[in-house]
Symmetry: C2
Subunit: 207 residues, 2 copies
DNA sequence: GTCTATATTCTGATAGAC
DNA sequence: GTCTATCAGAATATAGAC
């Protein structure tokens, strides 16, 4: 009880280290971040990092897990609980991820790198909720096709298109800003536009 | 003359190092790759790496440049030289990049990471050819909108959509294969399908 | 729990023999 | 050109005082 309360309002050293590590690891990846950097960013001594987390690797694993959970949470929530049709769900997905990535654009690259990193088997965690929600979404998808409302395409196409349209602008953001002479503020506005546009686009392209 | 011939048929130590470095750097990035690893992969001694390339950094810069050139070459060629309409160009782009990424799926992640890496200013090289070709493509794009053939959207939307649809499946490939139970062969087939589908999709969504 | 000082390992690079 | 041996510095991790 007291323990739980402590955790919630934790502004302790442990929390500070984790926060600093999260910021840096998400931004630059495992190898580019040095433990001294984390310590400085957290405003603590280097030795405390190992005192609380034993090793840099263990600290990273925790950050990795938390990032992935927050990245998946939206998908699980939307696909599972929303009663809407397939395009409504896509809109909810777009809203959730675009808002998340607006706050932390580096999260996209972090997750993509994690997907390619064989060291961490991030697909191991058999999250039943997410698995089930996907099944339901897949059913809706198949029904659309059977009813002749959607062109018969492979699920890989659908998923690639949804994820691609949502995530790619954030992955290519530095290029977009420089090459197309777009300001941060404009970029944010354009991303907000996409929340409405993406479901419309998906519907149009798969008709 | 003799020198040039030598370079073309080079299977020498220098070439072996470069090949090994290219493979590893493209796969894992600069920091994750250790010089000893490159030496082992190339089947040579560690000292030879510095003998031929002076430093790890210089070696990486060469690989980086070559990767970026091969990644841009397609864009420059297509946008510049092709006389087709905007959708024909998009199809040519899709064909070029999908074929390139089929051979080296890691290239996509490498370029994305390079885009985010402030250490290497990859936008500095003022390739006039590419710049000019973009201008022409931009004109075609604007004309489509003025003629009422295309919805009036920001260029960021268009570029995000084109790049997203082409590149995202390769970025998410490990996830796609595992989660959607797709084999390597199937994946390749699906990517080939996308060459024809992407221009059609873009046309449909932007009408 | 927190710090200073230090041990230990890793890593890029070089010297010098062949 | 290629190798072995080694250096110098960086980076992770720990010992031990407070």
């Amino acid at each position: 009880m007291a323990k739980q309360l402590k955790k919630i309002i934790d502004t302790s050293t442990e929390a500070k280290i984790k926060e600093a590590a999260k910021k840096l690891f998400t931004q630059k990846g495992f190898n580019a971040v040095k433990t001294r950097e984390i310590a400085t960013e957290a405003g603590i001594n280097l030795a405390l990092l190992n005192y609380y987390f034993r090793s840099k690797q263990k600290l990273f694993d925790i950050i990795m897990a938390e990032n992935l959970i927050s990245f998946r949470k939206g998908m699980s929530d939307v696909l599972n609980n929303e009663k809407g049709d397939i395009y409504k769900k896509i809109e909810k997905l777009a809203i959730y991820y675009i808002d998340t990535l607006k706050e932390n654009p580096n999260l996209a690259l972090f997750v993509i790198n994690a997907i390619h990193d064989n060291q961490h088997d991030i697909f191991n965690s058999t999250e039943d909720s997410l698995h089930q929600s996907r099944k339901h979404f897949a059913k809706q998808f198949l029904k659309e096709i059977q009813d002749g409302k959607m062109a018969p395409i492979h699920p890989v196409h659908l998923m690639s298109n949804i994820i691609g349209l949502i995530v790619m602008p954030f992955l290519a953001k530095p290029m977009m800003l420089k090459r197309l002479h777009v300001s941060e503020k404009e970029f944010t506005q354009i991303m907000d536009e996409r929340k409405k546009l993406i479901p419309i686009w998906i519907k149009a392209m798969l008709k």
